[in-house]
Amino acid sequence: MVVINEKLCKGCLICVEFCPKNVLSLNKLQKATVKNSENCISCGLCELRCPDYAITVRK
């Protein structure tokens, strides 16, 4: 499960673009958000690559 801390997210799109399962997108406020949680394989790449420490992946 991907948890986004909106306070830390700066909307850089890295997590969105590199998610292998297309789980994430930006919301209207340009913050990362989970759009397809059921596709998430908890690979953790978004957490590793988030420059702002805004993402936690719970397995």
Binding site: K10, G11, C12, L13, I14, E17, L48, C50
Partner: protein, 275 residues
């Protein structure tokens, strides 16, 4: 907030000052994971930086930290490590901080083979001052001080480090995050002067001037241009043009500076005790 960030960061200092899409946060996260993987004692680990965007890292990390003057991180680190060899000493520096104003300190720390790990955040530009060329700006690259295209040739940091005497040299990227973390961990574990060049991107001050697109586009470039040293061994030279090698590029075990100095002390004193 994940456990690594909770444990190793001064969480009340977040969010950090870096621009959206800046690679600094990714490298710093990889460093924190490396420290965690090795189980370093937080009270016995010092992180020292210079000046520039990446050097702001030390303010965010929960260790003994020094944000020194421009280019001087390795001088403070050398003094601290020599005085207190039992501490793990990690230096965070940028491409300009380390190889321009701090270039002399860099080659001499390498030559001494003092047990310090230097992680160089290379974003090819002076970001904090708004995008001037650094010693790592590629030839033809645009910057606010090379408006007609850069005419200098950049350093190859690993080659520079190896030539100067570093005994562990690696290169990683913000795209290859897990491997970057592993390389940093290996560097810290290595006894001697270790260098990890972390290729990063600065979408705001470098990417925009060079029309490289947004943060993910710049990261894709890192991915495309990187080739692991193992894969490269099997490829003919023409296939390597325009690519850069990533992975562990050099490793050698040689006498370490503070250990050699301790031998002098031990020979002169009984048991090396300070009097």
């Amino acid at each position: 907030m994940n456990e690594i960030i909770k444990k190793y960061f001064r969480n009340n200092k977040l969010p950090h000052i870096w621009c959206p899409g800046c690679g600094n946060g990714i490298v710093l996260g990889a460093l924190a994971r490396a420290v965690d993987k090795l189980g370093l004692d937080q009270n016995k680990t010092a992180v020292i930086s210079g000046i520039g965007c990446s050097s702001r890292s030390t303010g965010y990390l929960d260790f003994d930290t020094i944000h020194t003057a421009h280019g001087r991180a390795l001088t403070f680190a050398t003094g601290l490590k020599l005085a207190r060899p039992e501490l793990n000493v990690i230096v965070i520096t940028g491409d300009g901080d380390c190889t321009a104003i701090g270039g002399n300190h860099f080659i001499h720390a390498a030559r001494r083979n003092i047990d310090i790990t230097t992680v160089i955040f290379n974003n090819n530009i002076y970001g904090m001052t708004g995008g001037q060329y650094s010693p790592l700006t590629p030839t033809k690259g645009k910057s606010t001080t090379s408006p007609y295209g850069h005419i200098e040739k950049p350093f190859d940091i690993p080659e520079l480090a190896i030539a100067a005497g570093a005994t562990y040299v690696a290169r990683g990227t913000t795209y290859h995050t897990m491997e970057l973390s592993k390389l940093i961990a290996n560097a810290i574990e290595h006894k001697g002067f270790s260098v990890v060049e972390a290729l990063s991107s600065c979408p705001i001050s470098f990417g925009r001037q060079n029309k490289l697109g947004n943060a993910p586009s710049m990261m894709k470039l890192l991915k495309e241009k990187a080739i692991s040293i193992k894969a490269a061994e099997k490829l003919p030279p023409e296939k390597l043009a325009g690519k850069y090698l990533i992975g562990e590029l050099f490793r050698k075990q040689l006498p370490e500076y503070t250990e050699e100095y301790q031998k002098i002390i031990n020979n002169l004193t009984e048991g090396g005790q300070m009097q």
